[in-house]
């Protein structure tokens, strides 16, 4: 959960479901932003989730979940007094996806925050992989709120009008998004892939970043898989101790002097077995933090690919310009330096008339003029892109280092809490055993 704020003002995070440590994390993860972000002026939270049924695009009944987005203007002067009731509207996951796709296309130089996973992955056996499972829905609610907060605190994204109306305009928002025509602007996968293979001089930094993104994705995936298996096993260890509880209780029934000690020890064994549920739920939070950055790597790679595409288009334009200039030269001087089909056909079928040649040269001249404009534009575009993208990548990098360090620390805190619980339970059990 992120809250980026400036100076002293701290945006109130309205979701009271945060644990104290999460709240602390939020407030601590601050960064001085250039320019005002939406979050300074507005409270945002995803308060609830509800099941709905309705007809889908092909008129079939479906069940889906909607999330309640609450917003409220932040008014520092009214602090202390009762805050006004928040505005709210309902959105479903697919609308969040639409918003994000719009942002991806419109701000291709930004590492756009990811959405929580569509389907539960890296589950260990107790966690359900079912999208309707209440725990999954709850974690998704938290993830969606996190997404909104990240966007609202981004120096560039938070100013977007479509984002603002996503938060405030329930009806007709979809139409407004489609009207922007962003879908037409999006680059096809094929186009991007093509560029990646054929680009000659991409900025080295982007290549390194892309490589880093790959590595990060790979290592976090591995970590999540291992973690899920460990959680599974830990669950087993704790739960088997519950059997001690049962047998101690039965055994105490046939003992006279040992009975009390056994019975109470048994209760502690039951408590121990039960304690693993809370422990693993907290660990899930850590996994979610890792997952966010796992999904971030995709956004990072997307920016790098966009750069490659820009660069490629620039290179193509330049190449095209060069070849046109060459053609002009050949026509002007009559020499054929490069092999061309035209050259061959003209040799075979006879030279052109001076008029034809003049016409050709004129066409080429205007094409060259266009081409030079094109190259200038593409160059400027590319430079602009590189500049902006690199700023955002730096911002992302700092955010990532901060967040992940916090995550590691909160993991350690969790482990400490788990150890303390263990010490307590077994100390109590030892007391009881002494009374046997």
């Amino acid at each position: 959960m992120m809250a980026d704020t400036g100076s002293e003002e701290i945006a109130v995070i309205g979701n009271t479901d945060l644990t104290p440590s999460e709240l602390e994390n939020n407030i601590k993860n601050t960064m001085v932003e250039k320019g005002a972000t939406l979050l300074k002026r507005m409270e945002i939270n995803v308060a609830e989730a509800e099941k709905r049924t309705g007809k889908n695009a092909v008129s079939m009944q479906e069940t889906y979940t909607v999330y309640l987005i609450e917003t409220r203007a932040v008014d520092p002067s009214s602090e202390g007094a009762n805050p006004a009731p928040p505005d709210s509207l309902w959105r479903r996951y697919s609308e969040f996806e639409l918003l994000r796709n719009y942002l991806l296309v419109t701000y291709s130089f930004v590492v756009v925050p990811p959405l929580p996973e569509k389907r539960a992955e890296f589950v260990w056996h107790k966690l359900s992989a079912d999208n309707m499972d209440p725990d999954f829905v709850e974690r998704r609610r938290v993830g969606l709120e996190n997404f909104l907060l990240r966007v609202a605190s981004h120096p560039v994204l938070s100013n977007d009008k479509i984002f603002y109306s996503f938060l405030t305009q329930e009806q007709g928002w979809k139409e407004v998004v489609f009207e922007t025509g962003f879908q037409a602007k999006s680059d096809s996968r094929l186009k991007a892939l093509n560029a990646t293979f054929r680009v000659k001089n991409p900025d080295k930094r982007f290549a390194e970043m892309k490589h880093y993104g790959d590595e990060l994705q790979s290592v976090i995936s591995q970590l999540l898989r291992v973690r899920a298996r460990v959680a599974d096993r830990l669950y087993g260890v704790y739960k088997v101790h519950g059997n001690y509880g049962r047998v101690f209780s039965e055994w105490s029934a046939i003992e006279r002097e040992m009975g009390d000690g056994l019975q109470s020890a048994g209760h502690h064994m039951d408590a121990y077995a039960a304690s693993v549920d809370d422990i693993l739920e907290e660990e899930e939070h850590y996994a979610d933090q890792l997952k966010e950055y796992l999904f971030y790597t995709e956004a990072l790679r997307a920016v790098c690919r966009k750069h490659e595409l820009c660069q490629f288009e620039l290179e193509m334009a330049a190449q095209d310009l060069t070849s046109k200039k060459q053609q002009r030269e050949e026509l002007a001087t009559g020499t054929v330096r490069t092999f061309s089909l035209k050259g061959m056909t003209s040799k075979l079928f006879g030279q052109e008339t001076p008029e034809q040649r003049e016409a050709k040269i004129k066409t080429l001249e205007s094409q060259i003029e266009e081409g030079e404009e094109m190259v200038k534009d593409k160059n400027a575009e590319s430079e602009e892109f590189v500049k902006n993208a690199w700023v955002d990548i730096e911002r992302f990098r700092e955010q990532k280092d901060r967040d992940l360090k916090e995550a590691l620390i909160s993991y350690a805190i969790m482990q400490i809490s788990m150890c303390k619980k263990g010490i307590q339970v077994w100390s109590n059990a030892k007391e009881c055993f002494s009374k046997m």
Binding site: I220, N243, I254, D401, L408, I409, I413, I416, G422
Partner: protein
């Protein structure tokens, strides 16, 4: 203990003792008579509180503490030093049995012999033969059915060695069993002496006769088993189930922990791998890896502890219940024999005098069997309680230790992160 009492007459009787009988305290004289070594009829010949045992031996291994009893041990036995022997026919392990004693019927104060499992088994049989209603601590099993364990696997030998050590020490602590001639010979005789002694004793035919009588008796069954022995029987039945369950549960915990450990071992290396891609995060990630590796080592130790301490004891008590059942059966047989002869008397006309004498003897035998059993039962319950309490306390302690060590690992991680943070410009970080 040297006065020959089975029950500690000085024990506080706040709760109803498990012996289920108040008469035992008066039975001292009977026990003295039946101690094979006659020098013990006079309790004064040996000062019960004499502590001349080599102090070093006390520290070498754990004693089972019976709080109420004064430390009057005067015979110390150690089993150690397993060695493998290879002959043309077989391979087997011998253990060194070291005895240090101040008892006067031992010619020397120190003995060192080597014994193999067979010898222990022989000793147990002889003791049970001579004292059918005394509870002899179980031997470790002859074979381990688990399948995977090789006979000469180190853990197996170590576990067996400890169990044999306990077996002998329990006998040494027993006021009656420790006086056994067979026990003395086991501890002191050279290999050939032991072999020749083994050949003595009731012949095959006589042993067969015993067996036949025992079978006949058990077929006949007992008519009026005294209530207290019914209670003991019921208890043993339930206790047996509980011990078996606890044994299984503990084995399962060990298994689950091992599997958990296997998975946990992958975490550290993954964080290390990650640190290779990072700049700012290199230190924290490497430290995470270090912490996880340390936690792995702690968990490994914890699992080992469980296997070495709690599991063997639970297993011992599973075996104990078999012993207890056998003892109860033998007592039943004695009673059955007596009852049968009694009935036969009713139908006989002639030769009733001889028979009456026989019946009297059987009655005495029965009474003695009942009393020794009751006495030893109380003794057994006490040491069971002490053993299991100690084992569970130990387990709890080890678990607390484990968590304390892991706690320290993570706290040092936090500390190092905070130190780095303070060197930056962040404010206070609270510990939650």
């Amino acid at each position: 203990m040297m006065s020959g009492t089975v029950v500690d007459s000085g024990s506080p009787t706040a709760a109803v003792p498990d012996e289920l009988s108040g008469q035992i305290l008066d039975e001292d004289e009977d026990f003295e008579v039946f101690c094979k070594d006659s020098t013990f009829t006079d309790g004064g010949s040996l000062n019960a509180s004499m502590q001349t045992s080599p102090g070093s031996m006390v520290n070498q291994y754990k004693f089972e503490e019976e709080e109420e009893q004064p430390d009057t041990k005067d015979i110390f036995v150690t089993v150690d030093n397993p060695e493998s022997h290879v002959t043309a026919i077989e391979t087997f392990i011998t253990y060194r049995v070291l005895t240090k004693t101040t008892r006067s019927e031992f010619d020397s104060s120190e003995y060192e012999v080597r014994r193999r499992y067979q010898d222990f088994f022989w000793l147990k049989s002889k003791l049970e033969e001579a004292h059918p209603t005394l509870i002899v601590h179980p031997l470790p099993e002859k074979f381990v059915m688990k399948g995977m364990v090789e006979r000469f696997n180190n853990d197996f030998i170590e576990t067996r060695k400890r169990a044999l050590h306990k077996f002998l020490n329990r006998i040494a602590e027993h006021p009656i069993l420790s006086c056994s001639e067979d026990f003395k010979i086991f501890l002191t005789a050279q290999a050939w002496e032991l072999a020749s002694h083994k050949k003595q004793g009731p012949g095959l035919l006589s042993r067969m006769g015993d067996t036949v009588r025992a079978v006949a008796a058990s077929v006949r069954g007992v008519r009026n088993r005294p209530e207290e022995f019914n209670d003991i029987q019921d208890y043993v039945e339930s206790f047996s189930q509980k011990m078996t369950s606890l044994d299984k549960i503990t084995q399962r915990i060990i298994r689950e922990k091992k599997e958990y450990l296997e998975e946990l071992r992958e975490c550290g290396p993954t964080y290390t791998l990650w640190s290779g891609s990072e700049e700012e995060l290199v230190e924290p990630l490497k430290q995470m890896a270090g912490c996880l590796d340390r936690c792995c080592r702690e968990t490994e130790e914890q699992v080992q502890q469980l296997g070495n301490n709690l599991l063997p004891i639970l297993h011992e008590y599973v075996l104990c219940t078999e012993t207890l059942k056998a003892v109860l059966r033998r007592r039943d047989n004695i009673q059955a024999e007596f009852e049968a002869k009694n009935e036969a008397l009713a139908t006989k006309r002639t030769d009733t005098e001889a028979m009456k004498e026989e019946i009297d003897k059987l009655e005495d035998k029965l009474e003695f069997a009942n009393n020794t059993l009751k006495g030893d039962w109380g003794r057994w319950k006490k040491s069971m309680r002490a053993d299991l309490r100690a084992a569970f306390i130990n387990t709890a302690e080890k678990n607390v230790e484990h968590y304390e060590k892991c706690l320290a690992v993570w706290e040092s991680f936090l500390l190092s992160q905070r130190t780095e943070a303070n060197e930056g410009d962040d404010g206070d970080r609270d510990d939650s």
